[in-house]
């Protein structure tokens, strides 16, 4: 209870020093402060404190400093945020990039159809097939091929 009253009086002292109490309230405060001699002593001492405004009067910033700040602020206003940058550069660069990627993919499709259509043989595969067909027409190749097969898989072993 006494702690609460003490805290209340501290607040009242602050308000009194800041001129926020009426004459009656100040009188009541002084009466109440007699219960707390230390607070009363502090209250009286604080009333005679020199004003701080006087101690720090005459402080003025340099005129050039204010001008420098305004220059910095003018420049600052021209700095766009990430959102602005994204909006500005999206159309220009991202769309160009998408177009280029699409162009590259299309050109690849015409060059290598098998990359996109697995059912369709690649030009290389077709060429190999043609070459094999042509080799089968050469009698020497057929003979050598048959002999090789015979050596690897003789008829008596295979049962044929």
């Amino acid at each position: 209870m006494k702690i609460d009253q003490r805290k209340y009086l501290e607040i009242q002292i602050t308000e009194s020093l800041d001129g926020q109490l009426s004459v009656e309230e100040q009188k009541t405060l002084e009466q109440q402060l007699h219960q707390f001699p230390d607070l009363l002593e502090n209250y009286k001492a604080l009333q005679t404190m020199p004003p701080i405004t006087k101690a720090f009067s005459g402080i003025q910033p340099e005129p050039t400093a204010f001008r420098r700040l305004q220059e910095k602020l003018n420049n600052l206003q021209n700095i766009p945020g990430f959102h602005d940058l994204l909006l500005l550069y999206f159309k220009r660069y991202v769309l160009t990039g998408v177009f280029l990627v699409a162009l590259i993919l299309l050109s690849l499709r015409f060059m290598e159809p098998s990359l996109f259509d697995p059912a369709k043989p690649a030009p290389g595969d077709q060429q190999n097939a043609i070459e094999l067909e042509q080799l089968d027409r050469i009698p020497e190749y057929v003979l050598i091929n048959n002999l090789t097969n015979e050596l690897q898989f003789p008829r008596n072993q295979t049962g044929q």
Partner: protein, 210 residues
């Protein structure tokens, strides 16, 4: 010894980007319910700048930090983060919050640098240097010097409270908003800070009238 805090270099951007950014700002003005905080801040800049500079000068007094640099950082951060500004509070209060954060961060960094030997404070030269920025406007030069030095010796949280209330004349509610504490706590802490300041003044040989 003055310590430069930050140097910001701003690159040049193409005209198209500048136009885009201008259009974006214009859109914000049209969407704004009452007014655009950016425009509001720009409009009140000449009024706010000396006040914020004064607060930062008082907080950093005797530390060796450049109040000018910190003030510029405060406004640059405010303009950079204007989208974070909550329209329920005032720009002036919001600027004080930024100034406080920037200044206390700089002081913390400086303290660490001094601890590890990267910065060397010289108390006498610092006092002379910072006192030059406070012209002797009255006969109480000695008393004012003692008061400034007493404030500089206070812990940062108490220093900020006293400066915001007694120098910047912010309300309890505004200080509470800046520090994220209730009004009652502001008053209670302010009382303790003032007591501490009084004790510091007494220790430094200041004698009040009574």
């Amino acid at each position: 010894m003055m310590v430069s805090v930050a140097t910001i270099t701003v690159p040049a951007y193409p005209k198209r980007l500048q136009m885009l950014f201008a259009e974006k700002n214009k859109a914000v003005v049209q969407e704004g319910i009452t007014s655009n905080p950016m425009e509001e801040l720009k409009r009140q800049l000449p009024e706010f700048y000396p006040r914020i500079y004064r607060a930062i000068s008082a907080i950093t007094y005797g530390s060796g930090l450049s109040a000018e640099d910190l003030t510029q950082d405060t406004f640059l951060r405010a303009f950079n983060n204007i989208s974070d500004f909550n329209s329920h509070s005032s720009i002036y209060t919001w600027l004080h919050r930024i100034a406080r954060n920037i200044t206390l961060d700089a002081m913390r960094r400086l303290k660490i640098r001094r601890r590890i030997g990267l910065a060397y404070p010289t108390a006498d030269s610092m006092d002379q240097m910072t006192d030059d920025t406070f012209p002797a406007s009255d006969d109480d030069q000695e008393a004012n010097l003692l008061l400034r030095r007493a404030i500089s010796r206070l812990p940062n949280d108490k220093k900020v409270l006293i400066i915001f209330k007694d120098l910047q004349e912010l309300t309890y509610a505004e200080i509470g908003e800046i520090l994220d504490i209730p009004e009652g706590t502001v008053k209670s802490r302010l009382f303790k800070a003032r007591i501490m300041l009084k004790d510091e003044l007494m220790q430094s040989g200041y004698e009040h009238e009574n």
